[in-house]
Subunit: 195 residues, 2 copies
């Protein structure tokens, strides 16, 4: 027996990625086996290797895709306006973007150490590029004379850590709506940079 009814690359491929994403986020990369992923998809473990060269690449490509989408979507959102407007847009973007992708975020921040050295380097570079977007906004605000930020590098990390922490408690069915969360965090961010 072999190829079963309805089998198709364009269906199975995304299903494998979705299953891996979900399971990696839930249990961690190291704790999830290829056989578990295969079972979730309804396929034998060997079939996964039609879609990924190995387990490491499955993790890496999920993280890479996430970071690429993050950077692309971010760039559109923060290119216009004065520093305060751009900062507001960045905060709102970060929160909104991350709320719909809890699993991706979790993996992007938790599984860095399970990447091979060269894969780690690639993801780390993208992560730094994202930080640089915020740092550029803070520096622009300093130049405009509207922000009170003694150390833009540290402030960048502080703000991103604060915003990303939302994923540890936010639930779609919780007490706060996304706009309410965005507003709360924007006010904290705004005040912390002295606007």
């Amino acid at each position: 027996m072999a190829r079963t009814q309805g089998s198709h690359s364009e269906i199975t491929g995304p299903r494998i990625r979705a299953a891996a994403l979900k399971l990696f986020a839930e249990h961690g990369y190291a704790a999830v086996s290829m056989r578990q992923i295969a079972r979730e998809v309804g396929v034998q473990a060997g079939a996964l290797y039609n879609y990924t060269p190995d387990k490491q690449d499955l993790l890496f490509s999920l993280m890479k895709q996430h970071m690429d989408e993050l950077l692309e979507a971010c760039a559109d959102r923060v290119k216009d306006g004065d520093a305060t407007t751009r900062l507001h847009n960045f905060v709102d973007f970060h929160i909104t973007f991350h709320m719909g992708r809890a699993d991706e975020i979790f993996i992007a921040y938790m599984e860095l150490r399970n990447l091979s050295p060269e894969n780690f380097h690639t993801i780390e570079t993208l992560r730094r590029a994202y930080e640089d977007v915020l740092e550029a906004i803070l520096t622009a605000g300093l130049v405009e004379g509207v922000f009170d930020v003694p150390n833009p590098k540290v402030t960048t990390r502080a703000i991103i850590a604060m915003l990303t922490g939302i994923t540890t408690w936010y639930r779609p069915d919780g007490a706060l709506s996304p706009p309410e969360v965005s507003d709360l965090y924007w006010n904290m961010t705004r005040k912390s940079v002295g606007v």
Copy 2:
């Protein structure tokens, strides 16, 4: 052959805990085997079971001990003064305490999902108790009329996330000294709550 020269419970026990702490922090609980821990200590894997009932308990007891020490040390630091003073003390305590314990923090935040349900519940309760310390300070500041904090619960999580993020970039041999870091973060925290 069996008991080797120099073997002793009071030496081996802590060495096992130290090795597990280091390896869990470096590679993650699921990626570290009992044989790796044993090798780090210079002992056979079977010997570990004189000191821990199983691998899960080894992780749990490390996390539990960390949380207990965190809560005890914290309580001493924030019991006196007005809300602003207590907030300042909390921020400084959190940063100082965490800087010397990078491995413990890493595990406490990253390995929650590898705890058994009942162990998770225990640690989660302690974590919430720690959050409650900060939330009580914020609420006290509201009562005193000195803080501008629309939502103390969310603000608590935001501040803790921001402060804990330090562990992802701080290095003892880096550009900033601990007091400088503490000062930078205190100013951001202070401004974000409107003081």
